[in-house]
C-alpha cells in the first residue's frame, strides 16, 4: 500500500518504459512456489515426465524394442487419428463444452469418402472434399442445437454419436468392411510410400523452426523497442534450444527409418495452424474468452453463439480428417467404430492439460497426451499385453489427468481473489 500512496502522479514522459515501470511492480508478484510454476508455464513438465517414465519402463521390459526408430515411427502413425480427433475435441473443450461424436463423425466421413471413391468411382480429391464438407455440415447442425437452442453439448453430441453410427450402417448397407482401392487415398497413410521425401521431411520442420525462432526474436526486438518488458536472455535461449533439439531430434529419428510419415506431417500442419489461430487471432482469443467467462464475453460484444457454432463445425471437420487418416492407414472403412477412439481422443487432450472446464490449455500439449496414450497401447502390445491391460491403464491415466485438472482448478480458485 505504501508504494501506491507515495507514488505521485508525476507527469513524466509518456513512454512505455516509464509506464511499465510504474504499473508493473514485480514485488507485487508473490514468490512463485514450485506448485504455482507447475500450474503455470511449466504445466507440461509432469506430463513430459510421465511420458519419459513410460518410455523407460517399456524400453527395459521389452528388451530394447520400444525406443527404436521403426517402432517410434509406427507409434506416431498409430496416434495420428487419436491426436487429430483430440485436436478436434480441444476446440470445444476450450469453450467448456464437449463433443462425444468425434469418433462417430470421423468414421461417417471416412464412409462417405469410401463410398464415393470405391462404389461411385469419384476421384480422391472429390471424395475427400465431399467427406470434409459433410463433416462441417454435421458439426454445424450440432452447433445450432448447442449454441442457439442451448441444449447441453453432452446430450446433443451423444445423440449425434448414436445417430451418425446408424447413418453410416445405413450407408454401408450391411457391408462390414469397405475396401478402398484408390492409390491416392491409400497413399496418405496406408502404404510404404506414405512418407515425405527426405528433403521435405527435413526441410519443412526446419523451415518451421527457423520461422518460429525468427518470430520470437523479432517479437523480442519489437518489445524492447516499444519499451515493454522482455524475457530474460537465458530464457529466450533455453526456449530456442529446446525447440531445435525436440524438432531436429524427432526428424533425425524419422529419417533413420523411412522418413517422416505423411500422417504425422498432416497432423503437425493442423496443430501448427490451430496454434496460430488460437493464440494469434481475435477468433482464438474469443474462444478462450467464452471458455473462461461466457457472460463476460457476451457483454464485451463477442458473438458467443457464432463462436460456439464455428467451434463445433471445426471440431467435426477435423474429426473427419482424422477419420480419413484412419481409413487410409487401414485401406478400408469398417462399419464398426473404433470403440476406444473417443475416450482416447478426449483423454489425450485432458492428459495434455486442456481443461474440461474450458479456457485453459495449449494445442501443443495434445501431442504429449496422445504420445502417452499411444505409448501405453504400443508398449503393452510389444509386451504381448492384452487389450484389457491397456484399457485399464488408459482408464487410470485418464482419471489421474482429470483429477489433476480439477484439483489445479480448485487451487487456482483459492489462490485467486
Amino acid at each position: 500500500m505504501s508504494e501506491m500512496i507515495n507514488e505521485k502522479a508525476t507527469a513524466g514522459p509518456p513512454t512505455s518504459a516509464v509506464e511499465a515501470a510504474s504499473v508493473e511492480v514485480p514485488s507485487y508478484m508473490p514468490r512463485q512456489t514450485l506448485g504455482q510454476l507447475l500450474r503455470g508455464d511449466l504445466g507440461f513438465l509432469p506430463v513430459l515426465l510421465t511420458l519419459v517414465l513410460i518410455a523407460i519402463y517399456f524400453q527395459i521390459t521389452s528388451g530394447g524394442f520400444f525406443l527404436v526408430p521403426g517402432n517410434l515411427s509406427n507409434l506416431v502413425n498409430q496416434i495420428a487419428t487419436i491426436a487429430m480427433d483430440s485436436l478436434a475435441v480441444t476446440l470445444v473443450l476450450l469453450l467448456g463444452e464437449i463433443d462425444l461424436s468425434v469418433a462417430s463423425v470421423g468414421t461417417l466421413g471416412a464412409v462417405v469418402m469410401g463410398i464415393l471413391s470405391a462404389r461411385l468411382g469419384y476421384p480422391a480429391w472429390a471424395a475427400i472434399t465431399i467427406a470434409i464438407v459433410a463433416g462441417a455440415l454435421v458439426g454445424f447442425i450440432n452447433g445450432l442445437f448447442i449454441a442457439i437452442l442451448r441444449i447441453p453439448s453432452f446430450i446433443v453430441t451423444l445423440a449425434a454419436l448414436i445417430g451418425y453410427e446408424g447413418l453410416l450402417l445405413y450407408l454401408l448397407n450391411g457391408q462390414a468392411t469397405l475396401i478402398i482401392n484408390d492409390p491416392a487415398i491409400n497413399g496418405i497413410a496406408g502404404s510404404s510410400s506414405s512418407f515425405l521425401p527426405w528433403y521435405l521431411g527435413i526441410g519443412l520442420p526446419t523451415l518451421a523452426v527457423v520461422l518460429y525462432i525468427g518470430g520470437i526474436l523479432l517479437d523480442q526486438v519489437n518489445r524492447r523497442r516499444a519499451g515493454l518488458r522482455t524475457k530474460p536472455f537465458w530464457q529466450l535461449i533455453a526456449q530456442i534450444v529446446a525447440v531445435v533439439v525436440v524438432v531436429e531430434g524427432a526428424v533425425t529419428l524419422f529419417e533413420n527409418y523411412h522418413g517422416v510419415p505423411n500422417s504425422t506431417a498432416i497432423l503437425f500442419l493442423f496443430i501448427l495452424l490451430f496454434w496460430l489461430i488460437l493464440t494469434k487471432t481475435g477468433f482464438g482469443r474469443h474462444i478462450y474468452a467464452v471458455g473462461g467467462n461466457a457472460e463476460a464475453a457476451r457483454r464485451a460484444g463477442i458473438n458467443v453463439v457464432a463462436i460456439r457454432i464455428t467451434a463445433f463445425t471445426l471440431c467435426s471437420t477435423l474429426a473427419v480428417v482424422g477419420g480419413i487418416l484412419a481409413a487410409s492407414r487401414e485401406t478400408a472403412v469398417a462399419s464398426q467404430i473404433e470403440p476406444t477412439l473417443l475416450l482416447q481422443a478426449i483423454g489425450a487432450a485432458v492428459i495434455g492439460g486442456i481443461s474440461l472446464f474450458g479456457g485453459r490449455g495449449s494445442v501443443w500439449s495434445i501431442i504429449l497426451g496422445a504420445l502417452i496414450i499411444g505409448s501405453l497401447v504400443n508398449g503393452l502390445a510389444l509386451l504381448n499385453g492384452t487389450q484389457a491391460a491397456a484399457e485399464m491403464l488408459e482408464g487410470a491415466v485418464l482419471l489421474l489427468a482429470v483429477t489433476v485438472d480439477a484439483v489445479v482448478r480448485r487451487a487456482q480458485a483459492r489462490s485467486g481473489r
Binding site: V23, A226, N293
Partner: protein, 276 residues
C-alpha cells in the same frame, strides 16, 4: 488515511453550474403494481463523483439499469451533455460513452490483463493477427493513468487481488473513452487496503474529467470519495447533500426516513400510502 488522499481537486469547491454531463428528468419505472422509481431526477457533472445511496429496494439498481440500458425506464427524459438521448439497450449506452462496472466485474479469469482490457475490441495488424505490442502499450498507459499496480500485465486476471480486478474492470471502460462511469458497489467484499486502492482510483477517474457515479452501501467509503450524495428512498429522490457540509448521520436518517419523513409529508402527499 484521509490526509494522504487530500488532493487539490478534493478541496476545490466546485459550484457545478451549467449543463451536467448526464441528466435524467422525471424517470418512472414500474414492475407490475410496484412503482420502483417515481419521478426521479438525477444529474452528474464532469469531474464529479456522485454517491447514489439508499436502503435495499430504494431503487438504486433500477435507476442504474435505466442509465445503462439494461432496464429502460417507462417514462422520463435522459440528456447526455445537454442532448436528449434514448437509451434502449446496453449497446446504446456503451455507444454513448456510458460504462457500467457491475459487481461481478465481467472479467475472463483465464485471460491476462491485456486480453481482458481489449476483449471484444482487439487491435489487429494488417494481416489480421492481434497487435499484442500496441495493446500492451495502451494497457500500460491506461493503468498508469489510474495509478494501478499489478505484478505484470501478462498475468491472468485470476491471480490478481479483488481491488486490482476492480481496477481492471474500470480500466476497461476507460479504454472505450467513457464519458460517464457507473460503479456498482465497487468496494463490496474488499479488504481495507484494497478498498483504499479502489477509492484512490475513483479519484483518478474524476481527475481525468469523467462523471462518476458510485452506488454504495458503505457510507464511510462514500464520504471519503464522493462530492455529492443523492439519496433514494422508496423510489424517490429524497435528498441531495454536499458531503463537505453534512455528517454521515444526516445521510443515514435520510436513507431510513427518520427525519425526512415528516418533511416530505409537509411537502404534500403527492403519492399516497405507497411511499410512506
Amino acid at each position: 488515511m484521509a490526509d494522504n488522499f487530500t488532493s487539490p481537486v478534493a478541496e476545490m469547491q466546485q459550484p457545478y453550474t451549467g449543463e451536467p454531463r448526464l441528466r435524467l428528468k422525471g424517470i418512472n419505472k414500474s414492475f407490475g403494481a410496484v412503482r420502483a422509481l417515481t419521478d426521479v431526477d438525477f444529474e452528474v457533472y464532469a469531474g464529479e463523483v456522485v454517491g447514489l445511496v439508499g436502503d435495499n429496494g430504494a431503487g438504486k439498481s433500477t435507476l442504474i439499469k435505466a442509465i445503462s440500458g439494461v432496464g429502460p425506464p417507462d417514462s422520463g427524459e435522459i440528456f447526455l451533455e445537454g442532448q436528449p438521448v434514448k437509451i434502449t439497450g446496453p449497446q446504446v449506452s456503451t455507444h454513448l460513452g456510458i460504462e457500467t462496472v457491475y459487481q461481478d466485474l465481467a472479467l475472463c479469469d483465464n485471460l491476462d490483463v491485456v486480453a481482458n482490457l481489449f476483449l471484444g475490441r482487439e487491435e489487429r495488424s494488417p494481416i489480421r493477427s492481434l497487435s499484442e505490442i500496441h495493446m500492451e502499450q495502451r494497457t500500460l498507459q491506461v493503468l498508469r493513468s489510474l495509478d494501478v499496480k499489478i505484478p505484470s500485465v501478462r498475468t491472468p486476471v485470476m491471480s490478481l487481488s479483488g481491488g486490482q480486478r476492480q481496477s481492471i474492470a474500470v480500466a476497461k471502460s476507460l479504454l472505450r473513452n467513457a464519458k460517464v462511469v457507473l460503479l456498482d458497489e465497487p468496494t463490496a467484499a474488499l479488504g481495507v487496503a484494497q478498498t483504499r486502492q479502489v477509492l484512490h482510483m475513483i479519484r483518478r477517474l474524476r481527475d481525468q474529467g469523467l462523471a462518476v457515479v458510485v452506488i454504495s452501501h458503505n457510507l464511510a467509503d462514500v464520504f471519503e470519495v464522493v462530492d455529492r450524495v443523492i439519496v433514494l428512498r422508496l423510489g424517490k429522490r429524497v435528498a441531495t447533500f454536499d458531503v463537505k457540509s453534512i455528517t454521515p448521520e444526516r445521510v443515514v436518517s435520510a436513507i431510513t426516513g427518520a427525519e425526512f419523513g415528516a418533511l416530505m409529508e409537509a411537502n404534500g402527499n403527492d403519492t399516497a400510502g405507497g411511499t410512506e
